[in-house]
Subunit: 148 residues, 2 copies
């Protein structure tokens, strides 16, 4: 594959990713969750299962813990998360989603599903599944990184 083809693939991938992010964000806002930014979604993904510490979150997002702490401040202020004492470490605090935080997470899933349905209309359900499987196979590990 030539360099220019690799560039075309890259550009398409980044355009799709950017569009998806925007669409999910708009969809979440349209469902009544104001003041939510794309970055919050990645925090939600880490907090959802069982909560997480600020340091955990920072590592997951690839930012300093101060930045992660600030982001948690914002989520708390907006009612999406709360800080609880950590059950096993008195230094740490466990950040968990509130009911509204869970609602917002579900709204994001719905918004994502809406976009993916459109892709299904363009490619067919089968190819969308193929796409998902291929992306899962090449997805890097490590911290989530902004696409630019």
């Amino acid at each position: 594959m030539q360099n220019s083809e690799a560039m075309a693939l890259s550009a398409a991938l980044l355009a799709v990713a950017g569009g998806l992010t925007q669409r999910i964000n708009e969809g979440v806002i349209a469902r009544g969750f104001e003041g939510v930014r794309p970055a919050h979604g990645f925090a939600f993904a880490r907090l959802a299962p069982d909560g997480a510490t600020v340091t955990d979150l920072a590592a997951h997002l690839g930012v300093t813990k101060q930045a992660a702490s600030q982001l948690v401040d914002e989520l708390v202020r907006k009612g999406y998360a709360e800080r609880r004492p950590h059950p096993e470490d008195a230094r740490a605090r466990l950040v968990v989603l509130t009911g509204r935080g869970w609602d917002c997470t579900r709204a994001a899933e719905e918004a994502a599903a809406e976009v993916v349905r459109e892709w299904g209309g363009l490619l067919g359900e089968r190819d969308v599944r193929t796409l998902r499987d291929q992306l899962l196979r090449i997805a890097p590990h490590g911290p989530i990184r902004p696409a630019w």
Copy 2:
């Protein structure tokens, strides 16, 4: 396709996009182009064919023209682009890549190709081409948007 599957697809896509951006950026820097940020790549893509005005660039990047102008300042200061009088409009200025700007563009293509080759190793050449075609079909038009 369930919402959670759509979310898995979305997360994988964004992870791949973030990783790709990072890898290209690192690759460009490793080839001797310092002080380059991912955002510059999208500017290069617009400037490369025949140059562009600041307003053009702003529309393409989805930012204000002031922000685009600032970005051009930076590219000029670093030797990647230059402002020329516009041949058909005395108000406008045509921003074009310098030789070094073209070199940097080629470096980005090489870096992208390197990553895509790795994907080829994981998926096979055939599936990478399929991936490219599918992404091109679902890629949105309009301005490039940061993935978050």
